[in-house]
């Protein structure tokens, strides 16, 4: 209840005080897989230190849009992106932007927990190591600890940091992946259905975590669960058939959407 109160209050306050700050802006983004177009000129701004939920039926392009925010689509052979996506005003598809640097700034958590088959410590330490974020071992230990604390996993794993990350339960693994993403201090964290493989208790923990992470990070989350979108996000964007149907404050989308398609989807009439 407390959470809902916040979500309703904050955007209004922000708007009252000043214009919202946009961290990433997608401008007429189209994505093609070969000749098949998966996304049609989607223009979607992402507000800083806000949780933006992307909802819509399967195959509507929400994951595609998410993956184009940190250029994970580049890894797909025949994928082509047109339009413009900016991060702090800078075009991320500009040739001068290094994709490695971009992904250090825009982290990602995947649908299925995918820890490396290494120890818990190494899982978290890997990102800082390759980006040279720690000057020495003590620094690295500190980063690992802070990240695990931020991911709410520290108390559960502090005595077994050197055991395999794959030995944790599904929910713990997903929080480990979040800790791993947090460890490189990204500005934006993308989450692709992070709870779809988790049970309700683990889901609740991850949602709580997302809620806490919002104070430091900009979060974009794809979800199939309407309740989840309503619980964790402040802004919601509804996708359908590769088009952005509408984007608005979460409570507005869930109570009084502008588009009938959004209404139908939320009510479970299609999708």
């Amino acid at each position: 209840m407390n959470m809902m109160a916040e979500t309703t209050l904050e955007p209004k306050q922000a708007q009252a005080m000043n214009e919202p700050v946009y961290k990433m802006i997608g401008n007429k983004v189209s994505v093609f897989y070969g000749t098949k177009q998966a996304l049609f000129e989607v223009s979607l701004p992402v507000r800083e230190k806000t949780v933006t939920a992307l909802i819509g039926p399967s195959g509507c392009g929400k994951s595609t849009f998410l993956r184009s925010l940190n250029r994970m689509n580049d890894t797909i052979d025949n994928c082509r992106v047109t339009g413009q996506i900016t991060l702090d005003g800078q075009d991320i598809y500009d040739p001068s932007i290094d994709v490695v640097e971009l992904r250090a700034r825009v982290g990602m958590v995947f649908q299925k927990p995918n820890p490396f088959p290494k120890s818990i410590y190494e899982n978290v330490a890997y990102g800082p190591k390759i980006h040279g974020l720690a000057r020495n071992k003590a620094d690295l230990d500190q980063i690992v600890e802070t990240s695990l604390i931020k991911a709410g996993l520290w108390n559960e794993v502090k005595d077994r940091l050197h055991e395999a990350g794959t030995g944790l339960s599904g929910g713990q693994q997903q929080r480990l992946c979040i800790a791993r993403a947090v460890a490189v201090s990204p500005e934006v964290i993308l989450m692709d259905e992070p709870c779809s493989a988790l049970d309700p208790i683990a889901t609740a923990k991850v949602e709580e975590l997302i809620h806490e992470l919002r104070s430091n990070f900009t979060i974009v989350i794809v979800t199939h669960s309407m309740q989840q979108a309503a619980r964790v996000s402040q802004r919601t964007a509804m996708f359908h058939l590769g088009n952005l149907v509408e984007e608005n404050d979460t409570d507005k989308i869930f109570t009084n959407p502008d588009e009938s398609r959004t209404q139908d989807y939320i009510m479970g009439r299609f999708g």
Binding site: T75, A104, F110, I130, R180, A181, V184
Partner: protein, 436 residues
């Protein structure tokens, strides 16, 4: 119970026939076929191993005859020059020393040429060089009498092992009655004994079976395996990583893929011809050299390694790649930190199977001249040598009984190496295998 019947609306016995019995019968039949197939395979394996081991185990022991040999000065150094030039000792008449030793031991007159001929025929010709080496190593033996164990001649060895049919009339067998009598005397006195055949592992080629060994062939095979391992593992792994991870998927890479798969099926003799024309005729490398053999076998092994490596790279779950890429690891870091370690067991298994295949390969080596009579150990891979399977091939062509057992003995040695390598592959895979 009656409730259930009324609920389904049908009496229990009228249940729909969904072919449960038929399905189970089919499964039982299939299992029976499987067991039959296994049994046939195991039968032939057992037959092979039985035939090889039963023929070959005797090759690992060797008959020796202990004789009192007197290094008489007039036979080894008639002019007494060894003080100034010890090399004269190498020119001594060692055949005579053996004859005298036999005469003394068996009690016949050394001037009795018939007996002397029969007796000396019992000792391997290689015994002369053994005595020579012994004396050159220790010149103080001159004038002394020493009990020396000398290699028995191949036929005597076979007779001692009971491999010669003695019911055949004397004129038609290689071992004469007189020799058998002497053998019995010697055996009863403990001077004709069977000992472990170290020569099988240390000697080179010889036309005398008792002195022939696998040493040179094993050395050649070792050189070749090192060459194959050093070249084909890095080349194969680098090629597969490039093809699997970096190369664009287009017609050219499709063509390359088809060709690699084809190359894996090309008969090995074709690789031999290729090696002959490229490495020997064009590049001018020496014939019969282990290096050339290794290069040819490398070409032959590469497709196997590439196919195995690509398969194991493909088997690494894409989620691991995504995880690393999503953290901002470069493609190179993703591959070397995460993908390659996970693919390692598969790569090593493929490599060792490729090596084992190469170790047993004969045909291409015949074409590059490794089928040769090489008695001296090769010091470098550029010197002539043979290989284990080629040695088997050459011994199989020999007529003597003792070569037959050596052929099987060599097969046992080769199979042992192959089993060890495959065992190593399994252990490595277990060691590296991780779940994700």
């Amino acid at each position: 119970m009656s409730d259930a019947v009324t609920l389904t609306g049908m009496p229990a016995q009228a249940r729909r026939d969904i072919g449960i019995k038929r399905r189970y019968a089919a499964e039982r039949r299939f299992r029976a076929y499987g067991i039959i197939a296994m049994a046939v395979g195991l039968f032939f394996l057992a037959a092979l191993i039985f035939s090889v081991v039963s023929k070959g185990y005797t090759a690992f022991v060797q008959t020796t005859i202990t004789l009192p040999i007197e290094f008489t000065e007039k036979d080894v150094d008639p002019d007494n020059k060894r003080g100034e030039n010890p090399a004269v000792l190498a020119q001594g008449d060692f055949a005579k020393l053996i004859k005298q030793g036999l005469a003394k031991r068996l009690g016949f007159d050394p001037s009795d040429r018939k007996s002397a001929k029969l007796a000396t025929a019992m000792i391997s010709d290689s015994a002369r060089t053994d005595l020579r080496d012994m004396l050159v190593a220790d010149p103080s033996l001159v004038g002394k009498t020493v009990n020396v164990s000398l290699l028995a001649e191949g036929n005597i060895d076979s007779a001692n092992k009971g491999q010669i049919d003695l019911s055949v009339p004397e004129a038609r067998r290689k071992v004469k009655d007189k020799q058998l009598e002497w053998m019995k005397t010697l055996r009863d006195a403990g001077d004709l004994t069977k000992a472990f055949n170290t020569g099988l592992f240390t000697n080179g080629a010889s036309s005398r079976p008792e002195a022939a060994g696998l040493g040179v062939a094993a050395m050649g095979s070792l050189f070749m395996m090192v060459t194959v391992f050093v070249l084909s593992l890095p080349i194969g792994v680098a090629a597969s990583i490039y093809l699997e991870e970096f190369a664009p998927k287009n017609r050219l890479t499709d063509l390359i893929e088809v060709n690699i798969n084809n190359l894996a099926a090309v008969p090995s003799i074709v690789y031999g011809l290729l090696g002959l024309s490229i490495f020997i005729n064009f590049a001018g490398m020496p014939r019969s050299a282990a290096l050339v053999g290794g290069l040819v076998l490398t070409l032959m092994t590469l497709p196997t390694i590439i196919i195995a490596t690509r398969a194991s790279l493909k088997a690494v779950p894409p989620s691991i790649r995504s995880a690393a890429l999503g953290l901002g690891a470069s493609k190179m870091q993703t591959i070397f930190h995460h993908v390659l370690p996970l693919a390692m067991p598969g790569i090593l298994t493929g490599t060792i199977i490729g090596l084992a295949h190469a170790l047993g390969e004969t045909a291409p080596l015949l074409l590059i001249g490794m089928v040769a009579f090489v008695a001296d150990f090769p010091a470098t891979p550029l010197e002539p040598s043979t290989a284990l399977p080629v040695q088997i091939y050459m011994w199989a062509n020999e007529a003597e009984r003792a070569f037959t057992e050596r052929t099987s003995g060599a097969i046992i040695v080769l199979l042992t190496f192959l089993i060890l390598m495959n065992l190593g592959a399994i252990l490595l895979r277990r060691r590296f295998e991780r779940r994700w």
